[in-house]
Each structure stands twice: as structure tokens, then as C-alpha cells.
Symmetry: C2
Subunit: 217 residues, 2 copies
DNA sequence: AATAAATGTTAGATTAATCTAACATTTTAA
DNA sequence: TTAAAATGTTAGATTAATCTAACATTTATT
């Protein structure tokens, strides 16, 4: 366990490493809202601690140690989010911010009890998988809504962004995890998608939205 | 809301201010495990922020603003402790440490929901009063066990220390909040007290212990 | 009242995390 | 294949929170 700041870097690097391509200093700087030299200096520190491997001008790669640490933080974050929704009855759009704080609480007893209380859940309120105590993740096979075929009926399994602004948008469209929807039309021009929602109403979703909604057949 | 460090100073100053006498720099330094100059420098900062009033070589006094802030942190701490015991089924001896972290979580929604879930409780697992949303505290009229008369039958209403070492000690003696006990004998020499516990067994408690157990008649 | 002990303050250094300005390397595009 | 743009690094400054060493004040004890 490093400092709160170190934990945030590790978690962010891990999340970026899941996307295709190298993890770059500028990408990290953007995500963490800090300047480039701040990242360079922190990366060096994390490199000394063997959380990442790094050589100047090369990308940033996580070590096994770093991945383990990242998964532990992500586990805490997602357990916290589900707890906030299931036990404290908060909305899925407001829990991420609180989980950003709770993920840094250092107590295995605390998180294992929450896990137990929730019945050892496999996914958080946004459909993202919750790593188990050993950092093992069970990932589902699903695709972004942007890639679903016109005419297909699919189930929303996850959203890959859990910030309030995005989720408030989905709330306003009446979309939830688990909803069965049908792809009506895909616009070539801007990548937007029209769907038929649970209540048989047609709704238009922009490209930025449909690439963040994951569905299964 | 200041930094985590500032919050810890404010809470500690407030707790010390409830004991008789001035709050001194050395007392604070001891409680926070920092050196004297560290305290002097932080007090100056808190003084600029109007959380305490301070003049060199005089004691430290809290302002109304500071008290309000302290009570908010203490409310969060005690709600967290009760939540950990009641909902997560942790022991009263292990919750203080976790609450030291949770008390810094910044979310009214989070704490108000916990308050609600617990039924707007009046006391934490150690019998200490929980300030309400407005910082109002309902304190009970009780006395330290060290001052109870020989022969009197009293009920344990609170303990004024919630660290593991102390509570493990009480656990080993089988003592809990709410227990009815009888004062059998008080030793003039060392201030120790013999009591008859709930299960009619006689137990000897040292002065350091009986001054931290509060009872009502 | 003088001295010693305890307590508190000031000065200056250190560490973590950040910044800006200047410089270096890599990538993209004439 | 050079010039420009983008990306990354180094150097040096800043702020928060801490420390040690030296000095000042207050309190206690002869
Ligand atoms: Mn989240
Ligand atoms: Mn989530
Ligand atoms: Mn406590
Ligand atoms: Mn308590």
C-alpha cells in the first residue's frame, strides 16, 4: 500500500493498460489532471517501488506487483459502489464519487465483511466485474452497443464510465443495467444509434454514449 | 473542511478541550505523536483559518467554527463505528481504527443514509453520544466507576477510550455497555476497584480501567 | 529571588506532490 | 528527409507537514 496519490496513479495506469496501445505519460497526465512532469516524477517513484516498469520515452508498463495492487484497489472501489447502492440505497450515478474515497480505506476486515454482506457479488452497479480476494476477475463476453447489429435484441450488461454526468444522461433516457433493448438504426455519418427501449419507445443515442454501453446477446 | 491532517488536529483539540484545564501544545503533540514545533506551526495555520484562537504561550482555544467542524468529524466517526458493529458485525474493539479512516469521508449523503439505516442512534458502540446533523449532543449524566460508592449497583453506560488494547482488556473481563455491576470494594492504596459482574463473579479492575468506565445509577 | 525544569517558539532543513520554463526526443507531415 | 508538432524529461520553485537545534518564556523548586 502506497500513499493515496500513489494508489490513484496505480489504479489509473491499470485502467488505461486495459485499452489498446501503450500507456503514455500524456494520457495519464490528462486522466489525473496533473501536468506532464508530475507524471514523469511519480512514474520514477513507482518504478523504484517495482509497481511499473519504465524507461525514458518508452511507455509505462505495469508489473505483476502493480497489477495486484491495482486489482485490490478496484475491488474495494466496486464493492463500495455496490454497497452504496444495495445497502445505503444511493443511486448508481452518485456512488462513484464516494467510492473514490472509500477505495483508500485500509482494512481487509471491512471489505471482506461488505463482500459477505453483499453475498460475494460478481459485478458492481455499473456491470463492471468485481475482482475476488485473490485479484481474480470473471469477465463477461460482451460488445459495445456501437458494434451491435441493426435488428438485434441485446441486454445491457455494463457501462464503462461511471461518472455522474454520463449516468444522469442514461437515467434521463430510462436506461439501466439488465434492460433488454433492440437496435433500430445505426447512422453511418456520426455513429449514433437508435434503439427501442424496455418500454417500447424509440431513443437516439450518440456515438459517445453507445461506445460506453456494453451489451450481450 | 480542511485537509485530513487539519481534521485530525481539530478533532483532537476538541476532545482535549472537554477535559479540565487549558489545551496545551505539549498535550496535543503527545496525542498526535508529533513534535512540539509541528504543533505550533499547525496551530498558527488553524488560527488563520479561525478554527482556534491562539496567542503565543497562552493555551489553545477552539472557536465556534472549530467546534462545529470538530462535532461534524466526531459525528462521522461515531456513526461509522456503530455502522461497523451493527451492520458489518465487527467487534467494538476493532471499529475505532477503521472509523479513524471513515471519519474523513466527505459525503453528507453517505453519512445521512447511515444515520437513517441505524435509526438515528444516540450513542456509539462505546456509549459515547453521537452529535446530530446540527452538531447537537445529548449527553447523559453519569460518573466514572472510580467514583461510584461501595455497595452501589450501577449500569455501564460508556467507556472513554475506544482503543483495541483497552477494549480487549474489558472483553477478557466480560464487561460490556449496558452491564449491571455492583461495586464490592475500593482500594485506598492504588485506586483499584473490585466489582461483581453480570454473571455474579468478582473481578478486580485497576484505577486506569475504572476511570475510563462511566456508569449510571 | 535565583536557579532549574518544563514548556513553547523560531529558524532552517527534509520529503511528497505539485508546478513552470527550458530543453530533448519522437512522431507526423510537408 | 528535413521541418514542425507532439510528447516527454530535467531543473528549479512551491506548498503542506514534518523534523532537529537553538533560543525564549513560564512554572516549579530550592
Ligand atoms: Mn466507479
Ligand atoms: Mn463502477
Ligand atoms: Mn473511536
Ligand atoms: Mn467510540
Amino acid at each position: 500500500m502506497g500513499s493515496l496519490t500513489e494508489e490513484n496513479y496505480i489504479k489509473t495506469i491499470y485502467n488505461l493498460s486495459l485499452e489498446p496501445g501503450e500507456v503514455s505519460v500524456s494520457e495519464l497526465a490528462k486522466k489525473l489532471s496533473v501536468k506532464l512532469p508530475t507524471v514523469t516524477s511519480m512514474i520514477k517513484k513507482l518504478s523504484v517501488k517495482k509497481m511499473v516498469s519504465y524507461a525514458p520515452y518508452q511507455g509505462i508498463k505495469m508489473t505483476e506487483k502493480g497489477k495486484k495492487e491495482a486489482l485490490s484497489i478496484i475491488r474495494k472501489h466496486r464493492l463500495a459502489e455496490l454497497f452504496l447502492v444495495k445497502i445505503l440505497k444511493l443511486g448508481w450515478e452518485e456512488v462513484h464519487e464516494i467510492a473514490e474515497q472509500l477505495e483508500h480505506v485500509n482494512s481487509d476486515r471491512f471489505y471482506n465483511r461488505i463482500d459477505e454482506l453483499l453475498g460475494f457479488p460478481k459485478a458492481d452497479p455499473h456491470g463492471e466485474p468485481i475482482p475476488d480476494v485473490n485479484g481474480k476477475v470473471v469477465s463477461q463476453k460482451s460488445i459495445p452497443l456501437s458494434q451491435a447489429n441493426v435488428g438485434s435484441s441485446v441486454k445491457i450488461s455494463a457501462v464503462t464510465n461511471d461518472e455522474k454526468l454520463f449516468l444522469d444522461h442514461l437515467n434521463s433516457k430510462g436506461l439501466q443495467i439488465g434492460d433488454q433493448i433492440t437496435v433500430k438504426k445505426k447512422e453511418e455519418f456520426d455513429g449514433s444509434v437508435s434503439i427501442i427501449n424496455k418500454s417500447r419507445k424509440e431513443t437516439m443515442l450518440s456515438h459517445q454514449v453507445v461506445e460506453k454501453i456494453w451489451v450481450e446477446l
